[in-house]
Symmetry: C2
Subunit: 216 residues, 2 copies
C-alpha cells in the first residue's frame, strides 16, 4: 500500500510544483523516463533510499511520504538541467538571531531547490527568495517547528499575512495584521502567545512568507 501511495504522492508533488517527472528523474541521476516508469509501471518497486532522500528534500516533505520508514539528515544532490530549477539559499534563523541576519551577512546553510517554472508561475523572483527553517511553536497550526518556509524579500507595501519581521533584535515569523491604522499587530497563530502591538517603525518587515513545505 505504501508503495502505491508514494507513487501517487510523487506525482502529486510534481504536478503541484510544476516539475516534470523527466527532470526529476535527472535530478536523481537516472534516465529521464525513470520516474515515469516508477509511477506508471511500478518498475522500481521502491525508490532507493538516496533517491527518496533527494526527492523528499527537493519537495521539502518527509521521506516517509515517498515510501521510507523514517527520515535522517540528508545531503543535497543531483546534476541539473540548466534553467530548470533554482537554488534558493537557506539561512539559519533563530528566534534570537541578532540584527543583520538575513541581510546577506548571515551564513547560508545550504540551498533549497525550486523549479524555475513554479517560481515563475507564482510570480516570484529567485533573487529575492530565501529559505528558512521555522523554529519554535508560536505559529503552531500554520507553521510547525521544523517546517521549511520560503520568504520573498521583494520590497512591497505591507499586506496582511505571514511575514518574517525584525522587532528589536529578534527575527520573528508572525502573522501580520495591519487592520488598525497606525499599528502593526504581530499575531502568533498559536493562541498560547499573545499578539504584540507595535508601531510601524518598531517593525521591519524582512519578507513575506510565500510557501511552506507543503502549502501555505
Amino acid at each position: 500500500m505504501v508503495t502505491a501511495d508514494s507513487r501517487a504522492r510523487l506525482l502529486e508533488l510534481a504536478t503541484l510544483r510544476g516539475v516534470s517527472l523527466s527532470s526529476l528523474s535527472e535530478l536523481i541521476g537516472r534516465n529521464s523516463t525513470y520516474l515515469q516508469q516508477f509511477i506508471r509501471k511500478g518498475s522500481p518497486r521502491k525508490l532507493e533510499e538516496t533517491d527518496r532522500r533527494t526527492l523528499a528534500r527537493f519537495f521539502g516533505v518527509a521521506e516517509s511520504e515517498l515510501g521510507a520508514p523514517e527520515e535522517k539528515s540528508v545531503q543535497a544532490a543531483g546534476s541539473v538541467r540548466r534553467g530548470d530549477w533554482v537554488d534558493v539559499p537557506r539561512l539559519a534563523l533563530g528566534a534570537s538571531a541578532g540584527p543583520g541576519a538575513l541581510a546577506g551577512e548571515e551564513a547560508a546553510i545550504g540551498t533549497f531547490r525550486f523549479a524555475s517554472r513554479w517560481l515563475r508561475e507564482q510570480g516570484l523572483d529567485p533573487a529575492q527568495l530565501s529559505a528558512i527553517r521555522v523554529e519554535g511553536d508560536s505559529m503552531e497550526g500554520t507553521l510547525r517547528d521544523g517546517d521549511e518556509i520560503l520568504v520573498d524579500r521583494t520590497p512591497r507595501p505591507v499586506r496582511d499575512g505571514i511575514h518574517v519581521v525584525r522587532a528589536g533584535d529578534a527575527l520573528l515569523v508572525k502573522r501580520l495584521d495591519t487592520a488598525q491604522p497606525g499599528k502593526v499587530v504581530l499575531v502568533s497563530d498559536n493562541p498560547a502567545y499573545r499578539p504584540i502591538e507595535l508601531t510601524p517603525d518598531e517593525v521591519q518587515v524582512i519578507g513575506r512568507v510565500v510557501w511552506k513545505s507543503g502549502r501555505l
Copy 2:
C-alpha cells in the same frame, strides 16, 4: 504604451494561470497562434473589443488591463478545447442572502472559466468550486467590492484564512481566526468593522476563498 503593457499583462496572466496562449486564442475563436502573434509580433495592434472582454472576463480582471479604456458588462463566450478549462458556476451573493444560498438552490448567474491545469496545480476540485462577486467593503484592503472570488467548498477542518461563512441568516466573506479555542472570530480586514466573536456552532463555514481576481 498601453498596447505594450496589455501584451505583457496578457502573457503574465496566461503564465500565472497556467493557460496556454494557443488555447486562449481558441477561446476567442481565433487561430491557435493568434495571441502568440499579438504578444510577440504585435500583429493586431489592439485586441478587438469582444476579444478583450472575453479574455478579461476569463481572467477576472478589468478590461482596461488588456488595453481598453473602460469596462462594461459582459457576456461569456467561446468554444473550447475539451478538458482545457472548467466552467465554475458563479453565484449571486448578497451580504443578506438568506439561508440556503450556495447550497445549490441558488441561481447561478453565469460561469467563470478556469484552466483545468491551473485548478489541478492548486489542488482544487472543480466540482467543489463556486465563483462569487464580493459585495461591500468589509474586507477592503484584501477584497474590494466587485472582486470576483473563487470558493472551495470541500469540507475540511477549519483553518485560518478568508472564508465564506453563514452566521445566522447572513452570508459573509470574512477572515476567520480560530486561534482562540472555543471561539471563532470573524475578522473584517477593513478596520472600520469590528471583529465578530462567535461560538463554533453559530458559524457555518461554507467554503474557503482560494482565489480572487488577481491573487489572494
